[in-house]
């Protein structure tokens, strides 16, 4: 039976590429059953966060040990980009897990499912960044998104949480529809023979002239689908509401991990499959980038809720990163995004840790809650100061380093107008970031004292703050890492 044997052989040969993902699947499944709901039922639920953290660390090690290569009939590929963005996703998930533990404890909402869903979602991201086929890409995207829909609506007792969950699910399903429709149009325009990204690029080059509208529409719809996932204007409207309503650790997760993964896939898809039709999507994408920068930063100005502020600021940051997606050199773009996303991840992790820290008595949601933090908790306020300065891209913080690198690339690629716009809007962003700082340092503290929540948070705050603060000194080392983000 040669057919079956060849299948078998291919499977055995390709399986090593998926070892980290498989590991997550198996552990996640076992956590649900029989461990979580049968064998270890009496174990305190909060311990699952520690276990999940360890699992993620092991996955990280596995990712490092995964060999580069291509497999599953060209559906999945491990290269520098895959590894790099997988690392981002895992680190983001690990930070989320640490942040979740005290928050869920306080709300008495610990459960195995929560952590298992994070693991499954992470596995989806890990597949997504390595997907080299429209089908596997879409499947991974859905795996990632489905878990997050549930996580967003995890707090079933809170109306806001459910609303956010359903909103995200509906709009997400809708955007998935756009994405799949776009993909199908591309597939058809390319002759209906292949969904492999590299092959698509060649096929699209050979497509007949009258298929132009079809290709363009397809590309724009795919762009819309990805625009939704990374929350770029005009597909961003869900993000403030969802960020606001989701449990805070999940907001942290949402603003980092899926974004990193989607951007990684974004670069790969547009850099390889749609490389030949760069002209089709360059202008729309630069419009999206510009609109994101402007809208994100301006809308953030009037926010009173910390989470909404971060939602808008995250739209703006995505706007900056889209500059790198635009790059003609997909690999350089991926490198810039990776570096930016890494620093963004650290900053967001730290900021959300601070927010959760203050949420002990329902504080931290509003910027007002930060009043007088410098007096109450000077170290925390200092860390927040560092994060805010870094998010604003003020030297010598790490955020500046990443932004500098990104803008440098954009200039080199000739997007001068957009970069100038990025600079200007970045200046606007300083206002609302520094407003938080001013609130912490120059406003009188309210009565009462928040309960400190768990030491894991302090570790996250300390570690990320340190990295953000001295990260620039690690410049050469970071550049070395960035250079490893290779797109085969």
């Amino acid at each position: 039976m040669p057919f079956a044997e060849s299948l078998w052989g291919n499977l055995v040969q390709d399986l090593p590429l998926l070892v980290p993902v498989l590991f997550l699947w198996i552990v996640g499944t076992l956590m649900l059953w029989p461990l979580g709901s049968w064998l270890l039922k009496s174990m305190p639920k909060r311990q699952w966060s520690g276990i999940t953290f360890v699992v993620l660390l092991v996955t990280l090690v596995l990712v490092f040990r995964t060999p580069a290569g291509q497999g599953f009939s060209g559906m999945f590929q491990v290269d520098g980009l895959t590894t790099g963005f997988q690392i981002l996703a895992i680190v983001a998930a690990a930070i989320t897990v640490i942040l979740s533990q005290p928050q869920l404890n306080a709300l008495k909402e610990q459960s195995v499912e929560y952590y298992a869903l994070i693991l499954f979602s992470t596995s989806g991201m890990m597949l997504l960044v390595g997907a080299t086929d429209l089908v596997s890409l879409y499947m991974a995207l859905e795996l990632m998104a489905l878990c997050i829909y549930i996580l967003v609506g995890y707090l079933r007792e809170q109306d806001r949480g459910i609303e956010a969950g359903i909103k995200y699910f509906l709009l997400g399903a809708f955007s998935s529809g756009l994405l799949v429709y776009g993909m199908s149009l591309i597939f058809a325009a390319a002759g209906g023979k292949t969904t492999n990204l590299a092959a698509l690029n060649q096929a699209l080059a050979l497509a007949p002239r009258n298929a132009e509208l079809m290709i363009f529409t397809g590309v724009i719809l795919v762009l819309a689908g990805f625009g939704f996932k990374v929350a770029a204007v005009p597909f961003h409207m869900w993000s403030p509401d969802v960020y606001d309503g989701a449990p805070t650790p999940i907001t942290a997760f949402l603003s980092t991990a899926p974004k990193a993964a989607a951007l990684g896939a974004f670069v790969r898809l547009f850099g390889t499959a749609f490389n030949g039709v760069h002209g089709d999507w360059a202008a729309p994408l630069s419009f999206m980038a510009a609109a994101s920068m402007i809208l994100g930063n301006i809308a953030a100005l009037r926010q009173q809720s910390m989470k909404r502020l971060l939602a808008y600021s995250s739209i703006a940051h995505v706007g900056y990163m889209l500059l790198a997606v635009l790059s003609h050199d997909a690999q350089a773009g991926a490198q810039a995004i990776w570096l930016y996303m890494l620093t963004y991840l650290l900053m967001q992790g730290g900021v959300f840790a601070v927010i959760i820290y203050l949420q002990g008595k329902g504080e931290g949601e509003r910027i007002e809650d930060f009043r007088g933090l410098s007096k109450r908790r000077p170290m925390l306020a200092f860390a927040m100061l560092v994060f805010m300065l870094s998010l604003g891209g003020i030297p010598p913080m790490l955020g500046f380093f990443a932004k500098f690198y990104l803008f440098k690339l954009a200039i080199e690629q000739g997007f001068v107008t957009l970069t100038v716009l990025a600079f200007l809007t970045s200046a606007i962003s300083a206002y609302y970031y520094l407003n938080v700082v001013a609130t912490m340092y120059f406003k009188e503290a309210p009565e009462g004292e928040a309960q400190p929540m768990g030491s894991g948070l302090s570790i996250v705050v300390f570690a990320t703050c340190l990295l953000v603060l001295v990260g620039t000194c690690l410049g050469p080392w970071l550049m070395d890492w960035t250079a490893r983000i290779v797109l085969v």
């Binding site: 079956a4 299948l7 078998w8 059953w33 709901s37 049968w38």
Partner: protein
């Protein structure tokens, strides 16, 4: 674009047909409405409440579980037909598939989704 013409035609027909039929019957039929005639027809039984009734969430659970096992048969069917060609490989694959479903089954069972009281 001549090749799309039949589709367009089909759409037009699809829209036109109900419009035509409904209007024709409205024109032809006698119309003597009464309260009893205008009420919802429910197997000849007198209606008791609104049609938008809340069901217990367990029905949905059962429905979802049914769907899962329904899909299972969809996968099992082609494998059964091609069993000989796929040989060991197919057996392992379907084994993994069933194993996963079994895990899910174990999970919902231990979660108490199957206890009905």
């Amino acid at each position: 674009m001549p090749s799309y013409a039949p589709i367009l035609l089909l759409i037009l027909v699809a829209i036109a047909l109900p419009v035509v039929i409904w209007n024709t019957s409205r024109l032809l039929r006698p119309s003597w409405p009464s309260a009893a005639k205008a009420s919802t027809y429910e197997c000849g039984i007198v209606t008791v409440s609104e049609a938008r009734e809340k069901f217990t969430v367990r029905y949905y659970l059962v429905a979802v579980m049914f769907l899962v096992f329904d899909v299972e048969t969809v996968f099992l069917m082609p494998w059964a037909i091609q069993m000989k060609e796929l040989a060991v490989f197919g057996l392992v694959e379907i084994g993994i598939f069933l194993f996963l479903l079994l895990f899910g089954y174990g999970y919902i069972w231990s979660k108490g989704a199957l206890t009905w009281e």
